[in-house]
């Protein structure tokens, strides 16, 4: 008898949500950016904002038992955040090497592989009755649970080797939003440099969107095209802000793709939604309060079809804006140039303001050298925070740290160093605050030693080597207070943060086909050794009188 009643109540409760959601708002935005080398960067952004704390992320711990009712925000995600008390979460799964020289440095994390960081309510803080389900014991249990949950949600093996990858940087990765003030929070950060994670799967991502891929700009997300591109990335960013009464949670889901129309068309760089995605937008997503397509216009002569309804200019870049709120018929946007072939040779690239190059030099055994080049192309000095996370078997020798500016050794540019030495299996964490002089190239070199790891610690593909995660560089305000810990860095959408490329490092690797031979060999040696030792131990030593042998020499 209770069941029909409950169903009826549920129905009644959801009816108003089908209309205009009161506390939830969904916006979608697609930016298309033609790049100087003929490629096109498409950035999808789906933002859901919840202003009612009861429906959003669990800020008031007393209300944990309150039922979750959301219309637009995916329940699977909010439930995770509530269970593990996470007001801020960032997850990005990227494939490919972002080329900052040719593609610029837009906001957002552009790390190769997977990166995840979250501010989790410190588990030592007093919490409600009992721990949430799936939560492990001790420190980092919530982080562990959160990782496992997200790994399941996005079908990615995020949780593998979590302990070897998790760090808690002291200076980097400050929250982009606000943190609830009544409990302490702790930062956890992990990155998976290699691509064993399953990044070529859009379905779990699309499932989190209110219109799935049936309407709105999400219609364009065609996996056959997105995963044939030069670069693609997915991201989920959750942040909480203290703005409205009970706080406001924003869930931003992003997909970025870099297409190469020149490669596909065989020489021409003209593109349209149809040619890039093999799809067009046929209807708008009714759940979206705003649905906008923006095309950043290049400086050269070009032709944009259809004519945009609105033109905007931000930072000297002109943007054509199309409103997709009411798409009547098929919507396709395209751009053409007055040229037969795209000529790469005429392209001039503007180098980004901050460049990092990193290499680990040396043979597969013995000492190697970690060499980092930071270039500041601005005509003014910059303060940056350089963060290096290395697996425990790579030990950095800090006393060999040398800094050179344009080939001249200078020690004064290092402002602070924070170093967490590696304790197996936890990684090394090195955070250095540097002052880069104007228009300069700073070389940082450090000697590093590659450890000899146990054979059970090798990965299944042992002869591949180990991937080292990318180093991160955060620009800092130039005249910050003396205490670097208090500096708010990061800001909105990972502004200015840049990543180096990942590295592959060879460790001394045993021949894994050999254990059988080794067992036979060592057994033989042990048997021989045992034989003679046993002989000596059990033998009685007596003096024997030898009769002389006639006519026999001692030597030949």
């Amino acid at each position: 008898m209770h069941l029909p009643l409950a169903l009826l109540l549920l129905l009644l409760h959801t009816i108003p949500a089908l209309g205009t959601p009161q506390n939830e708002q969904f916006e979608e935005h697609l930016t298309l950016r033609p790049l100087p080398d003929g490629k096109v960067h498409a950035q999808f952004r789906f933002i859901t904002t919840v202003s009612d704390p009861l429906k959003g992320v669990p800020f008031d711990l007393a209300d944990r038992e309150e039922a979750l009712h959301t219309t637009l925000l995916p329940l699977s995600l909010t439930q995770l955040l509530r269970t593990y008390y996470t007001p801020e979460l960032h997850l990005s799964l990227n494939a490919g090497k972002w080329d900052p020289l040719r593609w610029g440095q837009p906001g957002g994390a552009l790390r190769t592989g997977a990166e995840m960081w979250a501010w989790v309510t410190d588990s030592r803080a007093p919490s409600g009755e009992g721990e949430g389900e799936g939560e492990g014991e001790g420190e980092g249990g919530r982080w562990q649970g959160l990782t496992n949950g997200l790994a399941g949600l996005f079908c990615a093996s995020l949780s593998s080797q979590m302990e070897q990858r998790t760090t808690s940087p002291r200076l980097a990765f400050r929250p982009e939003g606000d943190l609830p003030s009544y409990t302490p929070h702790k930062l956890y950060h992990a990155s998976h440099p290699s691509e064993s994670i399953c990044t070529e799967n859009l379905t779990p991502f699309l499932k989190l969107l209110p219109c799935k891929s049936r309407a709105g700009i999400a219609q364009l997300l065609n996996p056959h095209r997105a995963f044939d591109a030069d670069w693609h990335g997915m991201g989920v960013h959750v942040r909480w802000s203290n703005s409205s009464a009970g706080g406001e949670t924003e869930v931003r889901m992003e997909v970025g793709v870099v297409f190469d129309p020149v490669r596909v068309s065989g020489g021409k760089r003209e593109w349209s939604l149809k040619s890039l995605f093999d799809r067009t937008i046929t209807r708008s997503c009714p759940a979206a309060s705003s649905s906008v397509l923006t095309v950043q216009l290049p400086e050269e002569m070009h032709e944009l079809l259809p004519q945009p309804a609105k033109m905007l200019s931000s930072d000297g870049v002109f943007e054509a804006v199309y409103d997709l709120g009411s798409v009547g018929e098929e919507m396709d946007v395209g751009m053409r140039w007055l040229e037969d072939r795209f000529d790469y040779a005429t392209v001039r690239y503007t180098p980004p303001e901050l460049i990092i190059r990193r290499a680990l030099k040396g043979g597969s055994t013995g000492l190697s050298e970690l060499s980092v080049i930071l270039s500041n192309t601005r005509a003014e000095p910059r303060r940056v925070l350089y963060v290096e996370t290395l697996p425990w078997f790579i030990s950095l020798f800090l006393h060999t740290l040398q800094t050179e500016v344009d080939g001249v050794a200078r020690d004064d540019i290092i402002q602070s160093i924070s170093y967490l030495p590696p304790v197996s299996p936890k990684p090394t964490l090195l955070e250095i605050t540097l002052l880069l002089p104007a228009s300069s190239e700073v070389h940082l070199t450090m000697q590093a030693e590659k450890g000899f790891i146990r054979y059970t610690e090798h990965q299944p593909d042992a002869s591949r080597g180990w991937d080292l995660p990318a180093a991160v560089v955060f620009p800092l305000p130039l005249n910050a207070s003396s205490s670097p810990a208090k500096v708010a860095i990061g800001g909105g959408e990972g502004e200015g943060r840049i990543y180096s490329s990942t590295l592959l490092v060879d460790l001394p690797t045993p021949d894994f086909s050999m254990p059988y031979n080794v067992i036979i060999m060592s057994s033989t040696l042990v048997a021989l050794f045992f034989g003679s030792v046993f002989n000596c131990l059990t033998r009685r030593f007596v003096v024997l009188r030898m009769p002389a042998e006639k006519g026999k020499g001692k030597a030949s």
């Binding site: 494939a95 030069d230 065989g266 040779a345 290499a359 060499s371 991937d467 490092v505 001692k554 030597a555």
Partner: protein, 630 residues
Amino acid sequence: MSPLSRLKALFQAPPGDDRHVIRLQRQRRIYTRVGRISPYLQLACYVIGILWIFATPLAELGKSTYVDENALQPGQVNTYWEWAEVHAADRYLEGLEALKNSNATSQEKAGWLKDKFLEMGIPSGTQEYTFATSLEDVHGVNTYAFHSSPRTSGAEAVVVSASWTSLTGDPNLRGVATVLALAGFLRRYTHWAKDLVFVISDGHQDGMQAFLSTYHGFNPSTLSAEPLTLDGGVIWTALAIDYPGHSFSHLGLFFEGLNGRLPNQDLLVCAQIIGRWTGGVPVILHNTVDELRQDLPIPQWVRWTAAVGDWVWKEIVNRRAVKEWEYRAQNMAEQAAWMASGRASGMHGVFHQFRIDAITLFARPSMGPHGFHSLGKLTESLLRTMNNLLERLHASFFFYLLSSPASFLKIGSYLPCSVLIGVGCLIGGLRAYVNLGWERWYSEKLDDTKWIKRPRRLMEGVGTVLSLVCIGAGVYAYADSRLFAPLLAAKSALPLLPVVLILTLLPPFVVLLRPNSASPAPLAPMVKACMLFSLALLITPLSVLNFPLSLFLALLAIPLSLVQPSSGILPFLALESLNPVMLLLLQSGRDAIRIAVWDWQVLGAYALPLACVIWLPLVWIGQAICIIQE
């Protein structure tokens, strides 16, 4: 007595004694017997070792090659290289020929190549380098281009390269054109899992040595090179394309690297399978065509033996198995020669020192029938195979001798030849050492001989060896310096005669400087024992590292171990013929030494120091044994 009953007598005890005494007596008898037969054992080791060398080319000892790494799947892809790409290669070739005809400098050539890469949209750069050697300054400009493959992290890379100079010494224009056309073609596909690095290196091997040293952060003292402006990942495999002719008939595989390093055999096997089945090109080793020799006609001087001669010629000399043996022996001898001399057979050879598996695909110049079409197709397919790798090549063999493109010898089948000779040296040395410790003493009172112990002159023996090695090191310092360079440029042997005479005759006489000793034991056998020990210690461990080099030392060891102590001036002079300094008297020898000096200072190939510090002193020690009159 029959051998069996003799053997029995050895183990059986004379009746009536204590069994412990019997056991000790038996032990002593066996030791005596072993001591007595040790010369025959040593001889047997030498003879079996030498026979084994001749047996290695036999088909029965060989094994067919096979792909060990399952991920490789050679030849299992559809290739897209077509005539449009051949046309592109032809266009590049026109440009390259124009450059060559206008005698363009390295700088101009590299600039032209860089522009071509940039036109394709591949980031590119040039690198100027100079090797300061004692002979001359080697200068050049490399061009490189790094294509980041879509959706890859850029941590792994494959190199496709060509040097301006072919291994034949001709300009490698078509090789360079192939790499350019491949660069434009390969970047159109998204299936690459590794970055593609295209390198056009200047010179033959020096350019690539400069590029790779800089890439890996090594700075040889002789090299000054510009830093690279682009970053790449870890290079796993590399292909060098060498196409000096205008067409080619066979694809020759060159694989021997510097200092006897070899690439993983899987790479060679894949190249062989893909060349044969995807490219449709017959694959050969080096430049040796896989044809058996023609029947030899019976020479005039055998005619008189009539039927016997006919039979010998028909059944032995012109037998198919013998011809096959010769073909295999030729292939193995060439591989052994490259490895023993420590030289790289092509530009690929400089990769191996950085743990990169690399081979040269050599298009054997001919009137036809193959050209860019087959070469591009098989290179594409080979790159696809390398692209499949999830790990470094590690499954197959790193130690092997290839007897034909499709058959090889495992380490276990060829190792015994040099190890046996090394063991022979050890036996000889031990015997000499034991003998030196005892002296037969005649007692008049008892009218009997007796063995008494005497002290050995071990330190003097070791001292002789060490002092001659030190002189060898001095010779190395001289050969490595600028003082030696003019000698190599000499046109005739006459001005070199004093140097040759000093270096071949004088050093052994250093033993005359030894302090007087009152010891009754002779010195010459002690020096010989020390020489044999050092030979055994060199040959046996070297055989697993660089087998041909250890075989070379083993072959040197045989005449040296025949030297009789204090045998006088005639054997002394005969040993002159083994002295590497004698090479200076011949024009070809001077060229070889010049190459060794160049290879050592530019590439780090160890032929020069080895010849000075090991080969030369060994001959001197042999000569010293002849002239020591104690």
